[in-house]
């Protein structure tokens, strides 16, 4: 491993040294292509973030892919209803690894204002592994950009080998998650117990 000081000194002379891991993560982090997938109000702010005023292209994510097969990032932008939940999981399963999830807005995090609704899923992390949560109802486009930068930082620190390597480099880690089915009163199962456990109520 080369020292940081020497590396900086060499960079001043025009010699760039790097590691394979840094190069790999730099490339991945700066071309995160989101799935063009809007659910509700937050999707409009997601679109606003891709328009001229905020210009998500500055961060390499302007290419919204209509097909999950070409996307790296799922921005769950809006309320996930129980009728929509199986489709969301199916779309996630169809995305190739490495893939990331941003839960955008209060509804995607916990159900938000609609939490008491009979048809509202109380947070997408009951069914999918979420990397970044952005609060807000809806979050401003700046917040989405912040989430994207946070995700890029997360990608940059991912090791290629070792026990902490990310899911896509671990053959044993799951890349697909069970799709719930429509039941008579609720979706079955209503949550994935491997990902989410009910919060203990302390009184």
């Amino acid at each position: 491993m080369i020292e940081e000081g020497l590396k900086n000194e060499l960079a001043k002379q025009g010699v760039v040294l790097t590691t394979l891991q840094e190069l790999y993560n730099w490339g991945r982090g700066n071309s995160v292509w989101p799935l063009s997938f809007g659910l509700a109000c937050c999707a409009i702010e997601m679109m606003a973030a891709s328009m001229a005023k905020w210009d998500i292209a500055r961060f390499g994510s302007e290419v919204f892919r209509p097909s999950p097969r070409q996307a790296d990032l799922m921005i769950v932008a809006g309320t996930v209803t129980k009728k929509m939940a199986p489709q969301v999981v199916r779309l996630y399963n169809q995305m190739p690894e490495p893939k990331y999830v941003i839960a955008m807005g209060a509804c995607a995090i916990s159900g938000g204002p609609f939490k008491q609704g009979y048809n509202v899923l109380k947070g997408i992390d009951r069914l999918l592994p979420v990397d970044i949560h952005i609060p807000g109802c809806p979050p401003r486009p700046e917040a989405l950009l912040h989430a994207l930068i946070t995700l890029q930082k997360k990608i940059e620190t991912q090791a290629l080998t070792g026990p902490n390597r990310p899911r896509h480099l671990d053959a044993a880690a799951p890349s697909e998650f069970p799709v719930p089915e429509f039941g008579e009163h609720d979706i079955v199962p209503a949550m994935n117990p491997r990902l989410w456990k009910p919060t203990p109520v302390v009184r």
């Binding site: 009728k83 159900g111 939490k115 008491q116 609704g117 009979y118 048809n119 109380k122 429509f182 039941g183 008579e184 009163h185 609720d186 209503a190 949550m191 009910p198 919060t199 203990p200 109520v201 302390v202 009184r203």
Partner: protein
């Protein structure tokens, strides 16, 4: 537009056998409504649309309302002779109003630019007599809205071309907008000043996890 009383007289003349009631509305909006009997409701609706004076060609809003069985207590002042003196005494009479489902139609006229005329139809009860005639053949705008009333309230519309659930999935069994529907208990309860929410939270399954 004519007054509801005039419409009622003309309706009962035009649709033989129809019994139309006028329901009052005490709020400042004073939007009263017409309640025809179920058997003649379809003919009444067609009359309202086709009558040249009314010409209610536009059915704007279709709503279900759930009225569960309810005890109504009425205070009535009764004159009674108590110990030889006549006095006014308040008596509370309790009546049990049977439950029913109601569908409300708000009708306007695009040609004459008047309205609204509010038309209500009621079902026999909330369990097995939930049929009523569909107005989709009269006003096409009822199509999706009646499907919604069927989905959320469980009113069965006879003569509807395509009566399926519209908002919930097909396998769903309940009618969630009814007053006695219990939603799946799958959310955590935040601290709240409402006693009924705290009562609900005690029954929440995650409460059993904690000591």
């Amino acid at each position: 537009m004519e007054s509801l009383e005039q419409i009622k007289i003309r309706l009962e003349a035009a649709v033989p056998g129809a019994q139309v009631e006028i329901l009052s509305n005490d709020s400042p909006s004073a939007q009263r409504s017409l309640l025809p009997d179920r058997a003649h409701a379809f003919a009444v609706a067609r009359f309202l649309r086709d009558d040249p004076q009314l010409c209610l060609d536009y059915c704007s809003n279709v709503t279900g309302v759930d009225w569960p069985e309810m005890e109504i207590s009425l205070k009535v002042k009764v004159k009674k002779v108590i110990e030889g003196v006549e006095k006014e005494v308040e008596e509370v009479t309790k009546t049990l109003r049977p439950g029913f489902l109601e569908v409300v139609y708000h009708l306007y006229s695009m040609a004459m630019k008047h309205g609204p005329l509010i038309l209500r139809v009621r079902t026999g009860n909330r369990h097995d007599q939930v049929q009523m005639p569909s107005f989709t053949p009269v006003w096409r705008s009822c199509e999706f809205q009646e499907r919604e009333v069927y989905d959320l309230f469980g009113v069965v519309f006879d003569g509807h071309p395509d009566l399926r659930r519209i908002l919930m999935w097909d396998e769903f069994k309940d009618h969630p907008m009814r007053k006695d529907y219990c939603e799946p208990d799958d959310y955590e309860y935040e601290p709240t000043p409402h006693d009924d929410v705290l009562e609900k939270a005690k029954r929440h399954p995650s409460a059993e996890v904690t000591p």
